[in-house]
């Protein structure tokens, strides 16, 4: 069974204890917020996720979306759930109060996103896409466009999309062919065909605001000739109501492995009226400003699935009676012991848990940096936060989504054959998790971004935003009585990461293929060390608070035990990556294309 209770205690740990929410509250925009308010928001989000979104997850997957004559219908119950979600104001959570938003920090937003991803990934994409479009428009749209469109997107009456991909180009957007022809009134006529447009057409909102990458007639070739346009499904009237139908139609929806309740659309634009967003030919840059937040959100999808997989697997491991404990019957009163008595089942469950909690901690750190980028008044602090998010974005996106799929598979393993059949709902996690490794830039592309752009950025300054705090922590805590052994394990992993980084810097500078050959393993190594750092810090807090914890003692003891599991059973995987990274490109480049 898909079961889910939002891990509120751990979320509060990440928000207040590990990343000290007061730091955000002390900055401009935080005056009206308090830790108690954040907790109330998380509690209510948990209720909606558990009671409204979760019950539609399996049914939405089973039914999928319906397409007929350009019209897309979402599965039964989605419209009512979206109305409830929107009426309760959840689409406006992290948006600017100037446009009707609630102005809550990103770190709270990402925790709420985790809940919707865990309970109904497909549903969460609809408001998620709108939020991405909101960010791009907020940062680059003209005042007039923002005034016309943002309030409706913030309150969720209208939804948003990102129209990048075309049939012949996804990663390499320089090849795109959609055209935008300027009109005397300052608008543009947009024509072309886009594919893989999530939420491109659906019945949840009265209007859909497409952000479309296209080329102007005199634009330079390649990525330097791409501009961003806003193309609504219905042209708003002067009163702001949806007016005449614009020239954009959905010609088909994709039949997919997972997230079947999310409408993935093919869109055709024919002389559709649109408006330029940002400067001409700077469309990609406009898109990329919201990419850090969006890629973190995709990472959160992996985290949400990991948590959902964990809870479902634990429930089954406690109730499934098979065989006896290797140490003799643990429950002689029952026909057999529950399978959770077995070390291998526990290894599986703890692996998922250690990944999920580690990812939650790391996501909190990066989300806090997103908040600091927006809210800090000190330019040096803003720059530090920008460097850090830029560095960590590919790591979080690729690592978390790899983990989402791996842990969904591990969770299924606990079910044995019962996990493979539909009835228990856990095979859906495997199918739903898989897409997150692909969209918003495949994980291979993320790895290249990390080694090719982020490592060398600002002569290594970005990298130091991560390396320095880790090194300082290890130096300060390596002989700590409570967590010393955990810190020493982290130090070993960090040592491997430093060697790998030096290797890539040296070899990659001479030969870019060398960096490319090491990229995926390097990102994994980086990610495992980052999770290790989060676990060591979590253990430090847990050890300090345990003696006076009273009712929370169980929580902190479990934290410490899971930290130990991570350091002993998961982090060593990182050490093995170093020789692979150092082996270079020779083996994989040796084959002639014809030999494949």
């Amino acid at each position: 069974m898909q079961t889910y209770k939002a891990p509120l205690r751990d979320m509060r740990f990440v928000l207040h204890e590990l990343h000290d929410s007061r730091r955000i509250l002390a900055l401009p925009g935080g005056e009206e917020l308090s830790p108690e308010l954040m907790d109330s928001v998380l509690e209510e989000a948990a209720k909606i996720s558990e009671e409204v979104l979760l019950p539609l997850n399996a049914s939405g997957d089973e039914e999928g979306c319906h397409y007929e004559n350009g019209v897309v219908r979402t599965p039964k119950g989605f419209k009512a759930a979206y109305d409830l979600f929107r009426d309760a104001g959840w689409t406006s959570l992290a948006c600017d109060p100037a446009y009707g938003g609630q102005g809550l920090p990103e770190i709270v937003n990402k925790l709420v996103e985790e809940m919707s991803c865990a309970t109904n990934l497909a549903f969460g994409l609809y408001p998620g896409l709108t939020h991405g479009a909101y960010l791009a428009l907020r940062d680059h749209g003209s005042e007039e466009l923002k005034a016309r469109f943002l309030p409706k997107m913030v309150d969720g009456t209208w939804s948003g999309t990102m129209c990048l991909t075309e049939a012949h180009c996804g990663t390499d957007l320089g090849q795109l062919r959609t055209r935008a022809v300027p009109q005397p009134d300052g608008s543009y006529r947009v024509s072309g065909a886009k594919i893989f447009i999530s939420a491109g057409e659906h019945d949840l909102t009265e209007n859909i605001v497409h952000l479309v990458l296209a080329r102007m007639p005199d634009a330079p070739a390649g990525v330097r000739g791409i501009s961003l346009f806003l193309v609504p499904k219905f042209l708003p009237t002067t009163e702001g109501a949806p007016g005449a139908r614009n020239g954009v139609v959905c010609t088909a929806i994709e039949h997919k492995m997972g997230i079947r309740a999310s409408a993935t659309c093919q869109l055709t634009f024919e002389d559709a009226t649109g408006w330029l967003v940002g400067a001409p030919n700077k469309g990609l840059a406009a898109m990329f400003t919201m990419m850090n937040s969006e890629r973190l959100s995709v990472g959160i999808q992996g985290l949400g699935i990991a948590e959902a997989a964990y809870q479902s697997a634990v429930a089954y491991a406690k109730e499934r009676l098979q065989g006896r404990s290797l140490a003799g019957a643990k429950r002689p009163d029952l026909a057999a012991d529950p399978i959770i008595v077995h070390p291998d089942i526990r290894r599986t469950l703890l692996t998922i848990r250690a990944y999920a909690e580690g990812c939650r901690a790391l996501a909190g750190w990066v989300a806090q940096a997103l908040d600091l980028m927006e809210r800090e008044s000190d330019p040096a602090a803003r720059e530090a936060a920008e460097d850090f998010t830029a560095l960590m974005t590919p790591v979080v996106k690729a690592l978390f989504t790899d983990i989402g799929f791996e842990t969904a598979s591990l969770g299924m393993q606990v079910y044995g054959g019962h996990g493979y059949i539909r009835d228990h709902g856990v095979e859906q996690f495997v199918r739903d998790a898989r897409i997150a490794m692909l969209y918003e830039g495949t994980n291979g592309v993320q790895a290249l971004d990390l080694v090719g752009r982020k490592l060398p950025a600002h002569a290594g300054r970005s990298l130091r935003r991560f390396f320095h705090p880790v090194a300082a922590f290890i130096e300060a805590k390596k002989d700590d009585a409570a967590i010393g052994p955990l810190v020493q394990a982290l130090a070993k992993g960090f040592g491997a990461l430093q060697l790998a980084t030096a290797h890539i810097a040296e070899r990659g500078q001479r030969d870019a293929e060398e960096a490319g050959a090491a990229a995926t393993e390097y990102l994994r190594l980086f990610g495992l060390v980052a999770l290790g750092f989060m676990w060591a810090r979590s253990a430090e807090i847990a050890a300090a608070k345990l003696p006076a914890a009273n009712g929370d003692a169980g929580f902190y003891r479990t934290k410490l035990a899971t930290a130990r599991f991570y350091m002993e059973r998961i982090l060593p995987n990182a050490f093995a990556l170093l020789p692979a990274i150092k082996s270079g490109k020779a083996a994989m480049m040796a084959l002639d294309e014809a030999d494949f």
């Binding site: 109330s40 928001v41 009273n550 929580f555």
Partner: protein, 249 residues
């Protein structure tokens, strides 16, 4: 008309409660606490009456430790206008609660008090009735429907044989049953606004009430574990066991 809605902070209904090792009660340290679900129904009904224009103000009251303020915030997020917290670390039994609520009712002069029929922690089902007696107001308990017309309220009550409707003159006490309504999800803007709504903090002494327990709790124990069943081979064996072992026939 002003409505008064008492709300109690209890162990969340999802939590599997455990008895403290010393038998002094159930474990509440580190346990998720929430508003008593029957009280949520009471808040919902009060807010609906306000939305219909029948009531002008909804005041949520909670009694107990400082954390009860969070329970009041939940009511404020659902739509109550302001809160009153009577703060005390003392153990509060229904009679003390009813006396404190009477003192508040005398100050606030509400036209109607709506409260849960019972709290899911001790299932006493006593406070509403005691409060009605202390105030000398009519009571409509276990309500599944309420309709206010002028100075009277028609309360449909869930009773053993079905439904019974009583007509009470206001001011009155109504206690809620499960089917009265389905409480709403608090909206995000209302959660934010709830932080700005006023909560007045009082003490039992300020209200002139001595909350000391009148009942002594002897011990709290877990229910006995259910024994495994036995298979019988024949009807005769079953009858014999019912006679000699179960001693029910």
């Amino acid at each position: 008309m002003k409505l008064l809605v008492p709300v109690k902070r209890v162990v969340d209904y999802n939590v599997k409660v455990r008895v403290r090792a010393d038998g002094s009660g159930v474990e509440t340290a580190g346990v998720k606490m929430s508003m008593n679900p029957f009280d949520e129904i009471a808040v919902e009904e009060a807010v609906r009456l306000k939305e219909k224009g029948v009531a002008s103000e909804v005041v949520a009251v909670s009694l107990g430790v400082a954390a009860c303020g969070e329970t009041i915030r939940t009511a404020l997020a659902m739509g109550a206008d302001r809160g009153i917290l009577v703060e005390t670390d003392a153990e509060l039994q229904p009679l003390a609660v009813a006396k404190l609520l009477r003192a508040i009712a005398e100050r606030e002069k509400p036209g109607l008090i709506i409260l849960g029929k019972q709290a899911i922690d001790d299932d006493m089902n006593a406070t509403g009735q005691m409060l009605a007696a202390l105030l000398g107001w009519p009571q409509g308990t276990f309500a599944s429907k309420v309709e206010i017309a002028g100075e009277t309220i028609a309360v449909t009550r869930e009773i053993d044989g079905g439904l019974e409707t009583v007509s009470l003159s206001l001011p009155a006490i109504v206690t809620t049953d499960l089917r009265l309504n389905e409480p709403r999800y608090a909206s995000l803007p209302n959660i934010m606004k709830a932080r700005k709504k006023p909560i007045e903090t009082l003490t039992p002494a300020a209200l002139g009430v001595d909350p000391a327990p009148r009942l002594a709790l002897v011990t709290v124990v877990e229910p006995a574990k259910r024994q495994a069943g036995k298979k019988v081979g024949s009807v005769a064996e079953l009858v014999a066991k019912l006679k000699t072992e179960a001693k029910v026939i």
